[in-house]
């Protein structure tokens, strides 16, 4: 088995990989394309000519704009809260051994392994039992709940790999606990914290299941799209999706470049 067969395998796999990528990109291309579709009905399924009007009339649908804003603010708030809480928990689990550590870890694993549908349903059950009205605050609380575990696990992995002698050295040099946290521990944890925060943001902004159960009248971008599927999704949704896609790509590329340069 020399020569030709040795080269055929990888070449076939290369074509296959490119085909797989093409398949994954195809619906995205369709999404972008149909944002330029000059459709007249509510159904945006058939190509009817090129137009830019959906870009100029992007904010015509007030409830869609509200939904996008809700998605953004909820994602920002829940990322901020869950990053702070999750970082503290991750630090504790990664650095200290203490009684109850197993229970805390179990709780985190539960939050990660539990199907979203079950989490959403159980939250709804609680709000019904207590007669709590559902809305923006309940969505935010739920988003922090499922994000905090991912942040904690990410930071824990980083904290467990840190050399404790650095912290001890800072203590020997007379630094107090707060100073040590701010100037020694936190900078060392930073990659873990950043990864956790990114994960929290992505999870929150794309969530539809738990938001649907906890939102009541509060609608986010994914929920709005989901609700529109029965009557027809307007092209503005494609435009919003395209813009979010572009911004996401730019941010990812910039972050990757910076990470590569640091290395």
């Amino acid at each position: 088995m020399t020569g030709a067969p040795a080269r055929t395998g990888p070449r076939v796999l290369r074509v296959y990989t490119l085909a797989l990528i093409a398949w994954l990109v195809l619906p995205i291309a369709v999404m972008v394309l149909f944002g330029f579709n000059d459709t007249r009905s509510r159904q945006n399924f058939r190509w009817e000519g090129f137009t830019l009007k959906w870009y100029t009339h992007l904010f015509d649908k007030a409830d869609l704009t509200t939904a996008v804003l809700n998605s953004l603010t909820i994602a920002l708030f829940s990322t901020a809260i869950s990053t702070v809480l999750g970082t503290l928990a991750g630090l504790a689990l990664g650095r200290y051994r203490f009684r109850g550590r197993g229970a805390a870890t179990l709780l985190l694993l539960m939050a990660i392994a539990c199907p979203e549908l079950v989490m959403g349903a159980s939250l709804l059950s609680m709000f019904v039992t207590f007669g709590l009205p559902r809305g923006y605050p309940t969505v935010l609380a739920a988003h922090v709940m499922f994000s905090v575990a991912f942040v904690a696990v990410t930071v824990r992995a980083r904290a467990a790999g840190l050399d404790p002698s650095v912290d001890e050295a800072a203590r020997d040099l007379g630094a107090g606990p707060w100073t040590r946290f701010r100037l020694v521990t936190l900078p060392m944890l930073r990659p873990g914290v950043a990864a956790g925060a990114l994960l929290a943001f992505v999870l929150s902004i794309d969530d539809v299941v738990i938001t649907g159960f906890t939102g009541g009248a509060t609608v986010t971008f994914p929920l709005w799209i989901y609700g529109s599927t029965r009557t027809g999704t307007p092209p503005q949704v494609n435009v919003m999706g395209t813009l979010i896609f572009m911004v996401g790509i730019v941010i990812a590329v910039v972050l990757a470049r910076r990470a590569a340069r640091r290395r």
Partner: protein, 297 residues
């Protein structure tokens, strides 16, 4: 932010320190309040009777579970079946690509991986709708084919089980790619070379070296994919039409359309139990399998 000064003096890893408790407390309370307590309340609700107007009473009505299984048994079976199909499809599609990128991607490795993860940058629901657009009768794929008479009369893709499974596969493929790639990337190519030097054929080297070493990644990918796929309702709603609904759709409808909270709670718990048991059995079977493999060597 204040810390317990005395506790912190204890340094690292001491049981007496208060610090770790203070650090864990906020997250712990949040998870208790919005994860553990709701699950307990749902367990309680699943045994109640009543309706939205008169309220629900605790009557330990276990029939909610038997009723749920009796009425919607076929939906459970379909969800598990679709979950299995889509997870298997994801693994089969993702593995060769992850393998090629890990071993032959060269300097463009991260670019290829990035391209495979591109769907992550589009909202899950929007991706599903775009996939529907691709599959729709007059859409950009089927439309031209039909116009050229290449499709038999009455040929549909939408509103079939195939459409749902294809949507699930498309939607969750990135979940599978990442763990498999990470596991393959970690394999030292010299180990494979060593096997080749010892006259193992290409196939044998793959089956005895690469595949077993990458199994943990496949295991992680399968678990990460199967649970959300089997519990999904978006794909069935958007792509499947009324005849291919999954248990997620039923639970949603029982909560929101019928306000049958006890029954919906019982269904949710049954689903969770099935998924967790399935994952557990799978992990054990795979663990036993690789132990057997190790013993044979």
């Amino acid at each position: 932010m204040r810390r317990a000064g005395r506790g912190d003096e204890d340094g690292h890893g001491e049981a007496r320190s208060l610090t770790p408790y203070l650090l864990v407390l906020p997250s712990g309370l949040w998870l208790l309040a919005f994860l553990a307590v709701p699950l307990v309340l749902m367990a309680s609700l699943s045994l109640q009777t009543g309706n939205l107007v008169d309220g629900f009473q605790q009557t330990f009505h276990w029939q909610n579970y038997t009723d749920g299984l009796g009425t919607y048994g076929d939906k459970f079976v379909r969800s598990l079946w679709y979950g299995l199909l889509a997870t298997a499809a994801c693994a089969a599609l993702a593995y060769p690509a992850a393998y090629w990128i890990a071993f032959h991607g060269g300097r463009a490795k991260s670019t290829y991986l990035f391209l495979l993860l591109l769907p992550y940058f589009v909202s899950f629901v929007l991706r599903t709708i775009s996939w529907k657009l691709v599959l729709t009768d007059n859409g950009p794929v089927l439309g031209p084919l039909r116009d050229h008479g290449l499709l038999p009369d009455g040929f549909h893709v939408l509103d079939t089980g195939f459409a749902v499974v294809s949507g699930l596969t498309y939607g969750f493929l990135p979940f599978m790619v990442l763990p498999i790639y990470v596991a393959l990337e970690r394999i030292d190519p010299r180990v494979v070379e060593a096997a080749r030097d010892l006259y193992a054929g290409r196939v044998r080297a793959f089956a005895r070296i690469v595949l077993p070493l990458s199994l943990p990644g496949v295991l992680a990918g399968v678990v990460m994919t199967f649970v959300p796929v089997a519990a999904d309702y978006v794909n069935a709603e958007v792509l499947g039409g009324p005849r291919n609904t999954m248990i997620g759709n039923v639970i949603q409808a029982e909560y929101f359309d019928n306000s049958a909270y006890p029954l919906a709670s019982a269904l949710s718990f049954t689903l969770m139990a099935m998924l967790l048991l399935g994952v557990f059995a799978y992990a054990r079977a795979l663990g036993a399998g690789s132990a057997l493999e190790a013993a044979r060597r």
